[in-house]
């Protein structure tokens, strides 16, 4: 378990403020945010490398705020791996074992190294120097090294940034499997929301040194609480505008209203009036070639500007006075013979429009 309690960290003239977060025992949490949002600084604060201005860090209910990194019992995998260049793969992996609390003898150490090498499929590399290793191999060695002293907490700083896409997928799968087998509480940093969707139980979106939103990846993706989060996690179309109450419908907590913005007027269900952003997920827009009656409250007429096929899904870039992205299965796209210039109608339920 990791609990961060109102952390405030200053590095140079960058501040990380009001960071509170709890990762349950055995949980897998991801911190995501754009470059410069303070993700790495946050990990370093958890590891004990960065000095806290305020706040406390708990691990398994122990307050470790004042402890140096070596007494926090955690493993840290750095973005650039940082293998020890003067040691072989074997000695890199074994480095932390000799210094771990339940001091292990030479045989026990060798045993643990072999066990990890086997688990991560790097047994053949053990006697190699670390210089010639590929990105994926280095990644595995760094992971084995961090896991060797059996830490109860694992910190990962963009562990897949330096490997190519194909290797990344394999490693991601392995890491998730490893996490489940070893039951380590894991905190990972990434700038890629896809990774959060695939890996995490819990995600916190960092923006300019503060947590903009946290929750399960699903929650954050479906119900972003701000235009920033919606854009960052790629929920879909984000339109700035104003919500007005429909005169006939009032006195209720949620009311039917009208959203005007980006050249569009949309029927919405709102909880308050005033300037807001409308977030529309591409898959909530139903496309048809001609207007026909259905239960959806909003019908947007426009033309197809461009098609973007991403595997089984096709993103349809619409021009409805402003750009709007809808998604359909590639099969439907082919059946409807969509191509640039075709006029279509996008239908959208009032309840599918998220106002933030």
């Amino acid at each position: 378990m990791i609990r961060l309690d109102s952390l405030h960290v200053r590095v140079g003239n960058f501040d990380l403020r009001d960071i509170s977060l709890e990762v349950p025992p055995g949980g897998y949490a991801l911190i995501i945010g754009p470059t410069g949002s303070g993700k790495t600084t946050l990990l370093e604060a958890v590891a004990g490398h960065a000095r806290l201005q305020a706040g406390r860090v708990f691990m398994h209910n122990d307050d470790v705020t004042g402890l140096p990194p070596e007494r926090r019992g955690l493993g840290f995998v750095y973005q650039q791996y940082h293998l020890f260049p003067h040691l072989s793969v074997r000695d890199n992996i074994g480095y932390g074992i000799a210094r771990s609390k339940g001091a292990v003898d030479g045989a026990g150490r060798a045993q643990r190294v072999l066990e990890l090498a086997d688990m991560l499929a790097i047994t053949a590399l053990l006697d190699r120097p670390v210089q010639g290793l590929s990105g994926g191999e280095q990644q595995r060695v760094a992971l084995a090294r961090a896991l060797a002293p059996k830490p109860s907490i694992l910190l990962l700083d963009e562990p897949f940034a330096a490997v190519d896409a194909a290797t990344r997928q394999v490693l991601r799968r392995e890491l998730r499997g490893l996490h489940e087998r070893e039951g380590i509480t894991t905190l990972q940093v990434t700038h890629d929301f896809d990774e959060a969707l695939r890996l995490g139980d819990l995600v916190a979106v960092l923006s300019e040194g503060r947590i903009a939103q946290s929750g399960t990846p699903e929650q954050v993706f479906r119900y972003p609480n701000s235009a920033f989060v919606a854009r960052f996690v790629g929920t879909g179309n984000v339109i700035a505008g104003v919500v007005e109450r429909t005169p006939s419908d009032d006195r209720e907590l949620a009311f039917r209203g009208r959203f005007r913005g980006g050249g569009l007027t949309l029927d919405v269900v709102a909880e308050r009036e005033g300037p807001m952003h409308a977030v529309i997920r591409p898959e909530d827009i139903v496309l048809s070639l001609s207007p026909h009656p259905d239960s959806a409250r909003n019908h947007l007429e426009g033309t197809v500007a461009r098609l973007e096929r991403v595997g089984p899904i096709t993103l349809v870039h619409l021009d409805v006075g402003r750009p709007l992205i809808a998604s359909v299965t590639t099969t439907s796209s082919e059946e409807m013979a969509l191509h640039p210039g075709v006029r279509v109608v996008g239908s959208l339920k009032a309840t599918a429009i998220l106002l933030v």
């Binding site: 370093e44 590891a47 004990g48 490398h49 140096p68 990194p69 070596e70 926090r72 955690l74 493993g75 840290f76 750095y78 650039q80 940082h82 020890f84 260049p85 003067h86 480095y95 932390g96 210094r99 771990s100 090294r145 961090a146 002293p149 910190l155």
Partner: protein, 260 residues
């Protein structure tokens, strides 16, 4: 490759070759002047033997002191941002630009009996002027910057993140330094020490002012030259040159392969 570049390459190569020849020419010429016999004879001269022994001992002592005091300083300069770091860095590099006789005079004033520091040390039995410690002091003054800057670069070349990694693996700060940074910077520090040792051996201008007698090798050569002329100084000069070359090759072998 365009044709024009051939011409520009020739100019580049020609100018460069002039400089290389100007450096290597005098040294080859000096080696040419000596014969194995003359060197063996010269080595049997007890005065030269004594001066070479003295040079090696004092240079080693100066290097030891420079390493003892300079490696910690190099580490601080490379790794810890402290107030005034740039000024300290500047001070430690100063001796490189100070004319050697000026350094000698400054040391003479600082370590002489009449100065507070020199006086206090003299009362403890440590005399500098015209004594062996004066040689060591002069050598330390001119060679410490070389050791410090070499060791500083060696420390800088070690990724500081590696120490952080070692600490998350259970090492204390000192443990991480000893098991990670020091082994990785070791070759660079050794090369810097050898270079500092060579610089100590080569020093003349400040030692000639501080401690003419007993004579280190460079003073012995100068003394022979002024007293008996060029020919009489050559064998000793060749021997010192060979020592310098040996040291130099050692440093080259130790230094990490250069970038392309």
């Amino acid at each position: 490759m365009p044709v024009s570049s051939l011409w520009s390459r020739l100019v580049l190569a020609g100018l460069s070759a002039c400089l290389v020849l100007f450096v290597v020419g005098p040294l080859l010429r000096l080696l040419w002047e000596s014969s194995p016999q003359s060197l063996i004879e010269a080595l049997q001269d007890s005065e030269l033997q004594a001066s070479i022994t003295l040079t090696v001992l004092t240079a080693s002592m100066a290097t030891f002191l420079a390493a003892l005091l300079g490696i910690p300083l190099a580490y601080l300069l490379a790794r810890r941002p402290f107030p005034g770091r740039r000024i300290v860095q500047g001070i430690i590099d100063l001796p490189v630009v100070i004319p050697h006789p000026v350094a000698g005079i400054a040391l003479l004033l600082f370590l002489g009996r009449r100065s507070p520091v020199g006086g206090a040390l003299a009362d403890l039995g440590l005399e500098f002027v015209s004594h062996v410690p004066g040689i060591v002091a002069a050598m330390l003054f001119v060679s410490a910057p070389i050791l410090v800057s070499g060791a500083r670069e060696a420390f800088r070349a070690v990724d500081p993140q590696l120490e952080r990694v070692a600490r998350t693996l259970g090492d204390t700060g000192w443990g991480a330094f000893r098991r990670v940074t020091l082994p990785l910077a070791g070759r660079g520090i050794l090369a810097a020490s050898i270079l500092a040792w060579a610089r100590s051996v080569s020093e003349f201008g400040s030692i000639v002012i501080l401690t003419y007698n007993p004579k280190v090798a460079s003073i012995y050569i100068f003394d022979r030259f002024t007293a008996f002329g060029l020919q009489s100084a050559i064998p000793a000069a060749v021997i010192l040159l060979l020592v310098a070359l040996t040291v130099f090759i050692m440093v080259r072998v130790l230094q990490p392969q250069e970038r392309a």
